[in-house]
């Protein structure tokens, strides 16, 4: 059993489990599944700066910060106690493409050839980590949600706006991954 848990979980196990987060949070306390709001709460707690968007009773939303703290803890447990330490298995086509950019290390969930403290000071690493992170924070708040809040919670409750948002997430990702990222990886 433990041996089985250590392998990567297939989509038909992990997908439904992620879906169950929706009723779990509703039943635990009427909370809508969502992560990106936590970034706003961090701003409201630490840097409100008299910006109206960050003036609210964040103490009522503190559950969301407990939730994301749990995510960090759970990820730690999974990485250190439920890992089989095998390289990530990727499509050979992707491996071939990435090898052209010097990405050959699949031992970690993030490519350590690109994401490291040293690469942070290179143009490539800066764009992937800092610019990418900024776009995630800015874009999710502008869109009013992320993959969990819109794509899973929103579509599960048949929100048209969430379907539009999810289509735009995908279009943005397709454009970046196929047409822009190759140039960034050549830097």
């Amino acid at each position: 059993m433990l041996e089985w848990l250590r392998h990567p979980w297939p989509w038909y196990i992990s997908g439904p489990l992620i879906g169950l987060m929706v009723p779990l949070l509703l039943l635990l306390g009427n909370k809508s599944f969502g992560i990106s709001s936590s970034l706003r709460h961090v701003c409201a707690v630490c840097f409100p700066s008299k910006i109206p968007f960050f003036q609210y009773e964040w103490k009522k939303e503190i559950w969301n910060l407990f939730f994301v703290a749990g995510i960090m803890g759970g990820a730690f447990l999974a990485a250190y106690f439920l890992s089989d330490s095998q390289p990530v298995q990727v499509n050979p086509k992707l491996a071939h493409e990435l090898s052209q950019y010097g990405v050959t290390n699949y031992n970690s969930l993030v490519p350590t050839d690109l994401f490291s403290w040293n690469s942070l000071l290179t143009a490539k690493g800066f764009i992937l980590i800092v610019v990418g992170g900024f776009l995630v924070g800015f874009g999710t708040r502008y869109a009013g949600g992320c993959t969990s809040g819109h794509s899973i919670m929103g579509i599960s409750s048949l929100q048209m706006s969430s379907i539009v948002a999810t289509v735009c997430f995908m279009i943005g990702g397709l454009i970046m991954a196929n047409f822009i990222l190759p140039y960034i990886l050549q830097l």
Partner: protein
Amino acid sequence: MSEPNTIKPFLKEMNTDFEVRSLDTMCVNKSELQHPSWYNLKYLVAGILFGIILVKSEVVSWFRIQEMFRFQSFHMYGVIGSAIVVGFISIQLIKKFRIKSIHGEPIELHPKPFNKGQVIGGLLFGFGWALTGACPGPLYALVGSGALVIIVALGSAVAGTWVYGLLRDRLPH
């Protein structure tokens, strides 16, 4: 600051404070019940479960995200698709049987009204998702899993949210 409890879709004025604020699920306070703060530990436990699933399904991996956006693997589509199916069925069951929360409150869902932000912000988030290989949940999970440099990406995401808050009155909605 008290928040309106109901959504008024007929509200026509563009970009009113209320309309914009109701775009976020939070700030529409759902519970009037007061609980001691240690009750929040149940969300910590839920988060731990979610964090384990995120890592074991490898949806936090930059490689899996690149495969998804190149249509080279079904994995991510399978994960997100089956999560939506299970979420949808759960919500239908909750509605049909009027299931209440563990504190006896009726379960409420709040509509997210459409606005231009879902298109513009959605595209921008898509760019960021393909670059970092992570959406917000996985950013937290990656830090927990030991990829410590992702703390910088997470800090940058907080900065992005902050800049959005600063500029939001000047952005089209």
